[in-house]
Structure formats: C-alpha cells, structure tokens
C-alpha cells in the first residue's frame, strides 16, 4: 500500500452567482419574501479526482479562470467542496501571496510568531526556527521595526522565509518563485530545491511551462474547472500546448 498525501475524489465546488448583488438586509428581505432570489449556478470545479503520493511534485496547469486557484483553496481548506471528498495527510503550508497574515503595526520579529501561528505552528516550533528565519530573510537590523515601515521586498522576503523555514510536509506554491532581487531569488530557489530533496510533497501552480517541467514530476491540466489531462509532465505539457494552439 502506497501512502498518499492528497486525494481528491469527484470534487466539485458550486458558486451561486447572484444575478443582482444583494448585500443589505432590506433588499434581501424584500427579495426573499417575493421569492426573487435568483442565482446563476456556476461550477468552479467539477468531477476533479486525482491523487498525489507522498513526496510527489504535482504541477497544475491551466489558463486564467480554469480553476487553479480555486483548486488550491479547496486543498488548503479555505473552501469546502460542495460535493466529493478530499483527504489531506500531513502539515500543509501555503506559499500564496506572501505576507497576507502580517499585522502592519507589529514588528517583524513579532510577526514571525503571528504568521507562524496562523499557519498552525506552536510557540515552541517557531522559537526553534526564529533565528533561521531572521537570518534567511536578511532582516537582522530591521527585526524590531514595525512591518508598516518595511519595503514590499522586505515584506515578501520575511513571508517567504517563514513559510519555507517551517518545513511543511506539503508545500503549496502559487507562482511565488520570483521574490526579491537576484541574489535572494537564487537563495530562495536553493531553499526550495533543498525542501524538494527532503521529499516534501509539492503542488505547484503556474502558467510557466518551463518551470513546471523543471520542478514537477507529474501534472494535471485544468479547463473550465475540469481535469482534462493527467499524467507525466511531458505529455500534459504537450496537451496544454496543443489546446492553446487549438484555442487560437
């Protein structure tokens, strides 16, 4: 029996798109009483099934609006699937839009604790890696400065350092490999490669086929919320190119 890290079985996510936006109580009640609350049903994901084995690196390809980010949200637990089942085994850390969990009035050092806690780590775990995070982000001199005074590059570096240093078992990457200047980018790529070599399970979302081919050993292709290709990176990339050309 092989152990899988993530397993999706027939996952579907339905959105009820309001035809008109109703966001105040008065309108809601009037429409509710008149039975005028109409929705357009839209499936963001439908019949999505795949398995990611432990230590496997899965690339998720697809054009804009294909459902890539929605899929990541379902896997990370932000959204609950409307139908189907999802199983995740292991600590999961998303590296999506770095720095969302920072409080701007808090200093960088304090934010390491806050952000780590948001990712579900304990005080002890964060204490152990606090120094490494500060060192990696190269913010030693600014660690007591409130984050509101950081540049956007400093903020991104800190966010990246936290998410990488906690060494999750499952890493979710949403096109974030371009953080900071060239030296830092090289350093962060090295860190990610190091994580890869340790056998972390990765889900990598990108438009960039070259990166996917370089990093992933399996891939899926999404189109309109459905999986249209699933297999080794080469064949899925080929299919992606074919569909892009056909679309034009």
């Amino acid at each position: 029996m092989s152990s899988y890290a993530i397993k999706l079985d027939n996952v579907g996510l339905r959105f009820n798109l309001n035809r008109e936006r109703v966001d105040n109580i008065k309108e809601y009640f009037i429409k509710f009483l008149r039975h005028q609350l109409y929705y357009n049903v839209f499936w963001g994901l439908r019949n999505v099934s795949f398995t990611v084995q432990e230590g496997e690196r899965l690339g998720v390809l697809g054009l804009n609006g294909a459902g890539k980010s929605t899929l990541l949200k379902v896997i990370s637990g932000v959204m609950k699937p409307t139908e189907g089942t999802l199983e995740v085994h292991g600590e999961l850390a998303p590296l999506i839009e770095l720095g969302a969990g920072f409080d701007h009035n808090y200093s960088g050092g304090e934010n390491i604790y806050l952000y780590g806690a948001t990712l579900g780590y304990s005080r002890k775990q964060i204490q152990e890696i606090w120094k490494d995070i500060v060192e990696f982000s190269e913010l030693q001199d600014f660690i007591d400065v409130p984050v509101k005074n950081y540049s956007s590059g400093m903020r991104a570096r800190l966010g990246f350092a936290i998410a990488c240093m906690v060494e999750p078992e499952i890493l979710i990457l949403d096109e974030v490999l371009s953080v900071g200047d060239a030296p830092f980018r090289a350093k962060s790529e090295a860190k990610i490669t190091e994580l890869f070599n340790k056998g972390v399970t990765v889900i990598f979302v990108s438009h960039n086929m070259e990166q996917v081919q370089k990093l992933c050993d399996k891939a899926i292709l999404l189109e309109k919320g459905q999986v249209v290709a699933n297999g080794d990176t080469e064949s899925v990339c080929a299919e992606y190119v074919r569909r892009m050309k056909a679309g034009r």
Binding site: K73, V78, P94, E97, A100, N105, E110, L114, A117, T118
Partner: protein
C-alpha cells in the same frame, strides 16, 4: 457526533497558540504608540466618569445613588458596559478585518471573534484595578454624601466582594455569544455594523449606568403609573441591568447602602435570568456561526 467534537477539539489545540497570539497582539498594540501606554486602560474610564460625575453634580445636583458616591456608582456601571460594547463591536468586525488571511490560509474562523473578546476582557480586567483602588480609598477615608460624613463606606472589604466574579463571568459569556452572532451576520450584511453601533447607544441609555432603575418615573406625582411599571419591566428585561446590579451589589454592600431593590445582595431570580440569558446567547451564537461559517469565504 463524538468524532466531529474530537476533530474540533484537536483543531482548537492546534490553533490555540494563534488565539494567544491574537490576544497578545491586540493587548500590546492598543496603546503601543502612546506615552502612557497601558495606563490608559485605567485613565480613560476614570476621566470619562469624572467628566460625567462633574456634569451631573453641577447640573443635576446629583451626589450619590442610594448612598454610593455618584462617581463610584458611575464608574462601576461604565466599566462593565463598555467591556460589553467594545468587545462585541470588535468581534463583529474581526471576521471582515481578517478577510485577507481567511481567503488564503485555513484557520478556524471563530479564533478571530474569540480573540477579540478575550483581549478586550484582559484590558477590562486591568481597568478594574482603578475601581478597586477607589473602593479601598473610600473604605479607609470615608467621604461625604448628601452633607453627611461617613467615616468609611465598607464597600469592598468583606467576603461578598468575591461574588463580583460571578457577574463578570456572566458578562464574558454573554459577550462571546453576542460577538459570535454579530460577526457571522455582519459578513453577509455590512449594515449590521452601523445598526449595532446605534443599538449600543440605545442600550447604554436603557442600562442603569448613571441612574438607578429604582428612581425611574414617567409622569408627575403618580409613582405607580402603568408607563413607569412598563419601563421598569423593559429595564429589567435587559440582561446587562441584572449583571451590573449584581456586580454593584457585591462591591457596594453595607446596611446603609440600598442600591439593591431587594434584600440581600443578589436575587436568585436575577442571577438565574442573566446567566440563563448569557448561556442561551452563547449557544445561539455558536450555532449560527457554525452553520454559516463555510459561506463566509464567498462573501468576504
């Protein structure tokens, strides 16, 4: 059922550090850039009560309520009420404020309203220090009420003062229930925020903070007019009234002081009503929050 409970318990254990971090952050940041820092938690209610006491004593010649110096009476009610209104309003906004995180990372959503209630509770406990100091001061030095000098008021230095913990806990439970309910509604309807701030203002006047429910009277000399009785009923229906009354009775209790409307320092009916109300509110709030939390993400 038990499986679901165990899942939520384990999840809570995993994220309890986040709860602590949010509480710590809110408490630390509240007064970070001010010179006096945490002293403001005590200074602010003190100054507020001094202003009100000054206004009332000059304009309305008010010096005491049932033998309790007006300033102390005011401060005790105001501290309790502002904890309730501050904590519920913060909890209400917390889910929307943290939309950026909730959209990106999985976090148990109740952590945010709960964290805000608890951090407000901690600053509230700090601010109680000022009340304790004043009560002890009056106990030792006495004071003058209605031209009569009392050597001491024997406010707090008796065993009954320990009973003050009970209304404080009831108030905390009530705030959690109301906070959870409001935070889940306000995700769907932003109007809630505006409506509730007005409601809070109304609630403040319907809570005996700077008056005593005993003296409420509508109309001229006819004390037992039906309007007066109705108004008193409405006042008593407000759980904050009961909570604040029990709180005051346990700290200001001597034979000469009759803030209380009944013999003894609390009535069982009032205690049962307020604690029952608070527990029901917590259950309703948690239930509603639990039911709708998965839809938050679609509206944030």
């Amino acid at each position: 059922m038990t499986k679901a409970l165990r899942f939520h318990w384990n999840n809570f254990l995993k994220y309890r550090f986040l709860l602590k971090e949010i509480v710590r952050k809110n408490v630390r940041l509240q007064y970070r850039d001010s010179w006096l820092g945490m002293a403001w938690t005590m200074l602010q209610p003190l100054l507020f009560s001094l202003v009100l006491a000054f206004v009332f004593s000059v304009l309305f010649k008010r010096s005491d309520v049932g033998g309790v110096p007006f300033f102390v009476y005011l401060l005790s009610g105001r501290l309790m009420f502002s904890f309730f209104s501050d904590s519920t309003q913060r909890a209400m906004r917390s889910v929307r404020q943290n939309a950026g995180i909730l959209k990106k990372v999985y976090v148990p959503k109740y952590i945010y309203p709960m964290g805000n209630i608890i951090s407000t509770f901690i600053t509230f406990l700090f601010s109680l220090v000022v009340l304790v100091v004043i009560v002890i001061y009056y106990d030792i030095h006495g004071g003058t009420v209605q031209g009569i000098h009392y050597d001491h008021f024997s406010f707090g230095l008796h065993k009954r003062v320990l009973f003050a913990v009970v209304p404080v806990v009831i108030l905390l439970v009530l705030s959690m229930g109301v906070g959870l309910l409001l935070s889940s509604i306000s995700v769907f309807f932003k109007d809630t925020e505006f409506i509730y701030s007005v409601l809070c203002q109304l609630l403040m006047y319907f809570t005996p903070i700077f008056y005593s429910a005993k003296e409420v009277q509508i109309g001229g000399g006819d004390i037992a007019s039906w309007q007066t009785e109705l108004l008193k009923k409405i006042l008593r229906a407000n759980p904050l009234y009961g909570i604040i009354t029990i709180f005051r009775n346990s700290i200001f209790c001597s034979p000469g002081q009759i803030v209380t409307e009944f013999p003894g320092y609390y009535s069982f009916a009032q205690l049962a009503y307020t604690s029952g109300f608070a527990i029901v509110m917590l259950i309703v709030g948690s239930f509603v929050f639990y039911k709708v939390q998965d839809k938050f993400i679609l509206h944030l």
